[in-house]
């Protein structure tokens, strides 16, 4: 009898709670605040969370519907990331941001099956650009192959249009992530006539003595780095140790944060990296974050990391997610959206310079449009350079476009091969409810 009464109370409670839960927009966060990659994961997670908090505090949510955030710790571990996904998949997650290429690869088939959209901003499976095969995965505004191509385009510009006879080393994290740029760089080396040498570093990358001895022997003109976590800091220190010219050392956007260069002190001066967005607190949005989030004590972290590279990236990812949700609300003429509607918002996202200005982020990211045949945005990136004296990253170029013709050719090859292996018939999805 007691049990029956308890069950009845529980049922009433759940029924009463259900509308409250349904009238929120669930943005899950697969973060890593622990483990060897935590310093990067924390800053990104704080930026992501603070922006969503800002939307709730300043605007009362997205078009008045509050955002509900949930957090699951992955420790940058693929198995734990998949477990996190299993825990939230039934809770209307509007968009997943796994923040790990390894987890992304595991979640692509699962999210396709569960019809949950996933945004892998600047990481993950590059060929997800083809939205006809990867209906539920998006990787705008840029991906690894774009990044590799932008670096080569920048070096071409620096070398009067020719890299013929040059030697370029790719120092990569020996993981799915680190190996992503190899096909693009190989193709580009054949086309541009430079010699490509690839050197792997096992995770986490604390020890790189052998690799840098090899680089010293090979005397390359440039070193390109695809690193993450401690690997970046050690590589920059080792480059300084062997007196490799820092201005010829260029990292991907995951190898270009303050914590990568600071441990090397003055030795890191002149190091360059790709930038997929602006950095620093000189954007009006930070005034709002200060007023509505930090001053109210609602910030996710300590507040020290606001405006740093990885915090900015987390905030940018949240901003793009919010704009996609707004687009979904507009497309479906409803404020409370489902994951399928969110996918439509992402697939029809339009980011203009005017919109960026309106959001308090003028010039922070590129203008781009997403469509079924391009889930990857514009692919543009800038080059930033570390000034160890001032302790700041300075942008030294404008947006540089990648070689999209080559990349789309590779995207089609890879995505269609994936479609064949997985019995997927490439097609654009209809809008939810159509």
């Amino acid at each position: 009898m007691k049990m029956t009464r308890m069950a009845a109370v529980l049922a009433v409670t759940m029924t009463a709670a259900a509308p409250a839960l349904a009238e929120t927009l669930h943005f899950p966060m697969l973060n890593y605040r622990t483990g060897p990659f935590a310093p990067g994961g924390i800053a990104f997670a704080d930026g992501y969370q603070d922006y969503l908090t800002l939307i709730n505090e300043r605007d009362g949510g997205i078009n008045g519907v509050p955002i509900r955030m949930t957090e699951c710790e992955t420790a940058y571990n693929t198995e734990r990331g998949v477990e996190c996904y299993q825990g939230i998949r039934g809770d209307n997650p509007l968009v997943l941001q796994p923040l790990s290429t390894g987890i992304t690869y595991q979640l692509i088939p699962r999210t396709m099956e569960d019809r949950v959209p996933m945004h892998t901003m600047g990481y993950g499976r590059t060929s997800a650009v083809n939205g006809e095969v990867f209906n539920w995965t998006f990787n705008y505004p840029a991906n690894y192959w774009d990044g590799a191509s932008v670096i080569i385009n920048y070096l071409l510009e620096e070398n009067d249009g020719s890299l013929d006879g040059k030697k370029i080393v790719l120092l990569y994290h020996n993981s799915a992530y680190g190996r992503e740029p190899i096909p693009t760089l190989t193709r580009l080396s054949e086309r541009e006539g430079f010699e490509l040498l690839t050197i792997g570093v096992d995770s986490p990358g604390q020890e790189q003595g052998s690799q840098w001895l090899q680089i010293r022997r090979e005397r390359p003109d440039y070193v390109v780095m695809w690193g993450w976590g401690v690997m970046n800091a050690v590589a920059i220190q080792e480059a300084a140790n062997i007196r490799f010219p820092m201005e010829n050392f260029i990292g991907v956007w995951w190898s270009g944060s303050e914590q990568d260069v600071r441990p090397a002190g003055q030795g890191a001066h002149g190091y360059k990296s790709l930038a997929m967005h602006g950095t620093g607190r000189d954007y009006p949005v930070y005034d709002d974050i200060q007023e509505y989030v930090i001053d109210r004590g609602l910030n996710a972290g300590t507040g020290d990391e606001v405006g740093t590279v990885l915090y900015s990236r987390g905030m940018y990812a949240a901003m793009l997610a919010v704009e996609a949700a707004k687009r979904a609300q507009e497309l479906h003429d409803t404020d409370v959206i489902t994951p399928a509607m969110m996918r439509d918002g992402m697939a029809n996202l339009v980011i203009t310079e005017e919109l960026m200005e309106e959001l308090g982020l003028p010039g922070f990211g590129p203008a781009f449009e997403v469509s079924c045949d391009n889930h990857g945005g514009s692919g543009e990136a800038m080059i930033q350079q570390w000034d160890a004296n001032e302790g700041t990253w300075n942008l030294i170029t404008d947006w540089i476009a990648p070689d999209r013709e080559l990349i789309m050719e590779m995207v089609m090859e890879d995505s269609l091969a994936y479609a064949r292996e997985n019995d997927i018939e490439p097609q654009c999805l209809e809008m939810a409810g159509d």
Binding site: Q211, Q214, P263, G265
Partner: protein
């Protein structure tokens, strides 16, 4: 001399200094295992914790600042002063001694006479606790560690080898200093264990702790002593490795580098830790030099274990370890 030969020599020399860095970590394991039979899983985290404490003291960071700020709504992070390196090192040593006392008082005192596996499990728990404590106490961000030891290419080695071979070898000054410091450390440990009363007591406990107890040696004191010594070794290892990569969580993973060194050198031998470190260091550099380009590189994580496995087949107790024979 052919270029390949010169490059191989350079790789081998670098392997020797890298081996010393591995040995620095392995020494801490040996000290505790020798005195108490405990395989201290938390040795790597102790190196991280010691390095975090050193940076924190040097820069005048307020311990538990994030926690204090979260509870009281304050915004304090630094005291506003900095400490000279030597004073900060002395402070860190004091913290590590206090840590050793706490470990003995609250963990191992209650586990005397337990199976080795129980003691091992306790150190796993300790590792996770210390990892979290380090984060809460000093924050998880990457910290720059500068203890005044020069880094970068050694000009002397470069000039000398250039004069001899017409090719300047690369050697990291920091690793040369690490070799010197490791030498001093090992010498101090040997002198301490041979010529001091506490050192003799330590050896007595290592040989037969029941016999040592029967002649009035305090097991508790010895455990505090040995954990303090391991804490100091962890501080030295944390300083050297932290200077290379900044102080961050990954520092705790350097313990993984020590395991093959221990298998090779033996779990109970201080000279074994040094020799094991050197063999692993040279072995992995030469392997990477000759075979790395063929097999695609990235050999540093597994080669040492493979080498240790080969040694295990022929000499399970390691090069200098004690052969344990149990009769049934």
């Amino acid at each position: 001399m052919p270029d390949t030969m010169l490059f191989a020599m350079e790789a081998a020399l670098n392997g020797l200094t890298a081996g010393v860095m591995y040995a620095l970590v392995a020494l801490g394991f040996v000290l505790i295992f020798k005195a108490s039979g405990i395989f201290n899983f938390s040795q790597g985290v102790m190196a991280l914790f010691a390095a975090l404490t050193l940076v924190g003291l040097q820069s005048g960071q307020v311990p538990f600042a994030h926690l204090i700020n979260a509870i009281f709504g304050t915004r304090i992070h630094y005291f506003g002063w900095t400490l000279p390196t030597l004073v900060a090192i002395a402070g860190t040593v004091a913290v590590m001694v206090a840590f050793a006392w706490l470990v003995e008082r609250y963990i191992f005192r209650h586990l005397v006479n337990q199976e080795p596996i129980i003691l091992f499990m306790a150190t796993i728990g300790l590792a996770y606790f210390l990892e979290g404590l380090g984060d809460v106490m000093w924050g998880a961000e990457v910290k720059r560690l500068d203890v005044g030891i020069p880094q970068g290419m050694s000009g002397t080695v470069d000039d000398l080898t250039f004069a001899w071979f017409g090719y300047g070898f690369y050697m990291d000054t920091l690793e040369l200093w690490a070799a010197l410091i490791a030498g001093v450390l090992v010498l101090s440990l040997i002198l301490f264990s041979q010529y001091t009363k506490q050192g003799r007591a330590l050896r007595a406990v290592a040989d037969d702790h029941q016999a040592a107890l029967s002649v009035g040696i305090s097991l508790r004191f010895i455990w505090v002593l040995v954990w303090s010594m391991a804490g100091i070794v962890a501080l030295v290892a944390g300083m050297m490795w932290g200077a290379k990569s900044g102080v961050q969580f990954s520092l705790s993973l350097i313990a993984l580098k020590a395991l093959p060194v221990l298998i090779l050198g033996g779990f109970t031998s201080i000279p074994g830790a040094i020799v094991g470190g050197l063999i692993i260091g040279v072995g992995e550099r030469l392997f990477d030099f000759f075979l790395g380009p063929i097999i695609g590189g990235a050999t540093e994580n597994w080669f040492a274990y493979m080498l240790a496995l080969v040694f295990l087949l022929f000499r399970p107790q390691g090069l200098f370890g004690e052969k344990i024979i149990e009769r049934v």
